[in-house]
């Protein structure tokens, strides 16, 4: 599990490093006023990601040089909670930590399906538009998770009505798809 975490962290850091490197190199050619902010921020990001990447690859050496003990929320929680209290605490406000990713969750296919379905949904929007793609997405999602017939009908209808409500309410012409243009 530790290895899997490190792999995903390293992947994320490498992604940020590559993006920042490109932005740094590209910014050199900008006029000075336009270049200052991207150069400043990309160089800070590059320095920090380099340290973090190295600390991922050589944790024994780097962990002693980087003090990570800063989390006030962690320390207070530790003081005030016990194992019983922690049982059912879902996380929000983006503060959940590695303990919440158990081994089984790391190999959970649900997030993968959700991401693929979402990509599929966005892919369908172009040819079919929001009015058709949305109920298809909701229906497929509902079928995959064996929702009851009532729930399936409800979410499909809601996903069909939602674009109408929001489009009419906001006065926005939602995309109707190349097939129906």
């Amino acid at each position: 599990m530790r290895k899997e975490r490190l792999d995903s962290e390293l992947g994320l850091l490498m992604f940020i490093f590559l993006i920042s490197s490109y932005m740094f190199v590209d910014a050199i050619a900008f006029p000075s006023e336009a270049a200052f902010f991207p150069l400043l921020t990309s160089s800070i990001v590059l320095v920090f990601t380099s340290i973090l990447i190295l600390s991922n690859i050589f944790p024994e050496y780097f962990e002693s040089y980087i003090d990570n003990t800063s989390s006030l929320t962690v320390s207070t929680e530790t003081q005030t909670t016990n194992s019983d209290h922690q049982e059912n605490i879902p996380d929000n406000e983006s503060t959940f930590n590695q303990e919440q990713f158990s081994v089984s969750e790391l190999y959970n296919s649900n997030p993968i399906f959700l991401v693929l379905a979402t990509i599929g949904y966005s892919g369908l929007i172009y040819p079919l538009g929001f009015y058709i793609a949305s109920p298809i997405f909701a229906f497929v999602y509902g079928v995959k998770y064996h929702l009851s017939r009532g729930q399936l009908i409800a979410i499909t209808c809601l996903a069909f009505i939602l674009p109408y409500i929001i489009g009419t309410y906001l006065g926005v012409n939602l995309w109707t798809g190349v097939m129906f243009e």
Binding site: T41, D67, D84, F113, S134, I166, G171
Partner: protein
Amino acid sequence: MIEAINLLLDVNLLVIILVGFFAGLVLGAIPGLGSIVGVAIAVPLTIFFEPHYALLLLVAIYEGGVYGSSITAILMNVPGNVGAAATTFDGYPMTRSGKAVDAITIGGIASGLGGALMAVSAILLVPLFSQIVLMFHLVDYFLIAFLGITLIARISEGSLLKGIMIGIFGFLITTIGMAETVGYQRYTFDSILLFDGLNYIAILLALFAITEMIKLSLGQESIAEEIGSLSGNRRRGFRTLAEDKILFIKSTLIGAGAGLVPGSGPALGSFLSYSEAVRSASDPDSFGEGNPKGLIAAESANTSAIVGALIPTITFGVPGSGVTAVILAALISHGITPGPVALTEHRSIIIAFFLVLIFTSFLIVILSQTVVPHLGRIATIDVNVIIPMVIVATFIGTYSIRTNWIDLITLIIFGILGFYMVKNDFSIIAFVLGVVLGPIVETYYLRSITLSDNVFQLLTQGPVTPILFLVVLFFLFEPLIRGLYNTMGTR
């Protein structure tokens, strides 16, 4: 003040606030959702509203969400979000011991009065905030944004380096598109889709709606089970709260103080006041077994922290929590830049913010005595019904902002990126702050540099600037220096 009251004397607005509050209440009661998803989805849907309609609706959703998460915390031991986790410690044991009605009464009144008390204090302090912000120069706001990111990185879980790096990466992302101050296209690949850059509301929705749904999909069933009939005594609950007035006031102040800390939000407030209640109690062993004092401490701090979190958001543009980061984005998108502009030109809207909090706080008190005991079953909703609806609403809302396809691609990329950020303890709030404040920070810097001959003159403009600069340097490099110092000490 009169102008703020006049703003609220609008039937349509009151209806919107009520709808927002109840929507927040329902979303807050659903474990894993919380007010943040509600507020995030509402931002694009309210982009065409009058600013005060949009912003007051968001505040109402926020307050409703915070209280909604407490209901299921008390009745089912399932807090809607981490801010209500401390409520479960004594709230749920009270329910189990047949005092559910007592707990709901105590929780509702402590929560409502705590929020109202701090909102009144905030209204009284608005003139003082206005005076304080006028002491700051443009370059100070540039430094405050950096300081905000370092402070958020300190409060959030994970390493400081990660927090600071991801916050500044947020700044970097905002340089994509036309640099308006200098009229130059950056990183657009000559594509018209990228001409206006990445939309920060699309990024917010990706991080707070898509990422949250991916997280929610990890646990596929409804977390809570149906609750049975409730027992207890409302009058006894009220009496218990009246006997602990000092604890209530102390916890309210702790909550508001903790809310002021960037990135902390109601979670830190409720945990801190709960620990203080345990520390100062004559019977600390009874906490965690249904001691009403624990519930009073957690709940009064929970809502007062909302007020605390809004203050740095409005005055300096440094959000006190994830939800206030979204509210900050909404403020900016409606042309209300935090700082002097917000507190002088839009003072009536800012006061109306706090008036709405007073109004919704009293709603909490009333609802806790009437319908709330029946709302616990919201937590039993199957998450698979919610996930596709949130995704569809997010896509439509995002597309509506500027009908740009790049925003839908942004949703997917940053939704996945956000999931890995959270999984590896990178502070999403720091990243959001970077994304929201990036363009403003760059403008502040460019404007202030044109007013100064050199960097030294820039940093010695007034008494605040050099101090802020040193504080930013300290917080930025302190983890490295401390690490090096510790390593040298052990050798």
